[in-house]
Subunit: 389 residues, 2 copies
Amino acid sequence: MADTLADTLVAMQTAPLSTTDLPVTQQVRIELAERSYDILIGSQLLGRPETYAGLPKASTALIVSNTTVAPLYAAQLQAALQTHYGKVLLVSLPDGEVYKDWPTLQLIFDALLENSCDRKTVLFALGGGVVGDMTGFAAASYMRGVPFVQIPTTLLAQVDSSVGGKTAINHPLGKNMIGAFYQPQRVICDLDVLATLPPRELSAGLAEIIKYGPIADMDFLDWIEAHIDDLRAGDPTALAHAVKRSCEIKAFVVGQDEREAGLRAILNFGHTFGHAIESGMGYGAWLHGEGVGCGMVMAAELSQRLGLIDVALVARLRRLVERAGLPTVGPTLDAADNAGRYMALMQVDKKAEAGAIKFVVIDRPGSAAVRGAPEALVRAVIDACCAPV
Amino acid sequence: MADTLADTLVAMQTAPLSTTDLPVTQQVRIELAERSYDILIGSQLLGRPETYAGLPKASTALIVSNTTVAPLYAAQLQAALQTHYGKVLLVSLPDGEVYKDWPTLQLIFDALLENSCDRKTVLFALGGGVVGDMTGFAAASYMRGVPFVQIPTTLLAQVDSSVGGKTAINHPLGKNMIGAFYQPQRVICDLDVLATLPPRELSAGLAEIIKYGPIADMDFLDWIEAHIDDLRAGDPTALAHAVKRSCEIKAFVVGQDEREAGLRAILNFGHTFGHAIESGMGYGAWLHGEGVGCGMVMAAELSQRLGLIDVALVARLRRLVERAGLPTVGPTLDAADNAGRYMALMQVDKKAEAGAIKFVVIDRPGSAAVRGAPEALVRAVIDACCAPV
């Protein structure tokens, strides 16, 4: 499986540009039979009516955004959509992971029903991962399914969460526990919007980009190491390549395994530890990408202690995560029994089976696998990777 | 379309019994490629371990029921499931359409997460339409989808709501507005449980049985007329045939159009008016089947005024609905502008497009179609069919 994935990814060519008049620099297709769709990657996309040509027809569109992003970009999106839809509505959610919950989701349903939106209404998610996940789940559930479009405005959402159809809200007892696999009609990655992204959010996005290296493409890891400073500085050419390559790898994996029966789980590298950190600290204290960054270091450490990779790769990954501006030392979640607290939080991970925690490990450079691990070993990793009390 | 449907239904033969040792009298298959499943119809099914053979393996099963049904049947179901699952949990919801909402759905998620249920956990819906719709939506959404089984305990759920994968909860502004198309692994219709059904609930179920006549099978309508008193008296042979024939028709329609792109909408005959009544009266005041019974009379009246059927068929249907113990006169929802209130409530119907209400009409005996109607005509139907203030 691993060889096939790596070989196929190397051999993959970006699809040729379509003959539209869009200033699209890249186009990546997700192949899922009748649910296939394109990711458009380029500049000046968001405000151009042509970007939205060919989407499902409807009398009404609803933009879902948040109080941070809407003031920046909702007006130009609204103007562009007015070419295609008779009525373009906007609902602005409070900003933050802590609002990825049912009461906030309800605001979307309220807006849809108060405006008599029918089952053809198209939803547009304008924001980061939280807005995308919530809009997607609202689209999956409203009248049992209406079409939606992802317009990710954070680096993390552009390279990961907006692609592949995972939608969800959090439950007090676990992250992303309530949701649906529901594919968007299109993903629009406008690189220009990254210019307004706070540095901390940019770093969080780099975590998900770095992820693709050790699990699928060591050449890409080399490239990221060579360009990490350009990426942090917001260099458009570097960002364009990072977004495109990340989307290509994710598109391939999702195309093989839409509903995470197997392969797709490797995309969760760093997420088992990362979710525990996010949940244990209280949603929003650490950004998702920060949890993943630190979680990747812990997962690499686990891989090394399982005898799968050498210490040099762990050190290399730790150094890169650090250079990306991300934490590499886990927080202490419980002064009395820190490892126990991590274990308890990881037991509600969606990959767990009958209480046994499953980890995504690097089984050799550029290849990942999902497996269990002896509890004593996992506890030792947590002890080694977390700050002393 | 209509001729094909009627002809096909007449030609359809019930699938031969499988060579299991189950006391299954009937078996109807829903053909949906990899989502295909069987409806088992018979007696002594619920408490027999063999009924649950061949379902997905898991360490844990969760029975979702309500405070009315659980005391009657949960213990024997639990005992039967213990043969197959290491842990069999039970969550009992408050009973009634008024609880088909998010806070009650949350009780299911709470039970799943508090018991560390993983993504293989199988949910069993033990109850009527509300329990089935809520359990199905919980199964569709928990960890983005876990398997579930329908064990309908009302006549209405056995002949309609448990079959076909429509799941949902209500929103204060509209019925079944938030949900998913999500198919069960199996539907188990144990006819014995109908013996404990209150007469009013039995009548409500008859509404959905009667429905299949005018829209798909006039021979079945003849049969229902001849056996309506047996059905109301709970005669097992009559009920067995009514459940089987209803499931056959529904299975065929759902197999043609799982996600209601077209044909499936005919199963909503009587539901546009019926939902307005249910919603306008406040959920729970009228049973769903009562709304549908009265709604069918109104939809037939509309069909007649559109020149599609003659007055004799309307009268025949009204008489049968009445003999089934169901209301045939609509309630006054607004003394000042009753028709206006109905129109406003029908505008949030899921079949509506751009504010235009769509009705399921009988276009000739045994055949239905979905179409709009002039507002003045619809208002006249409402005026003619509702009780004077």
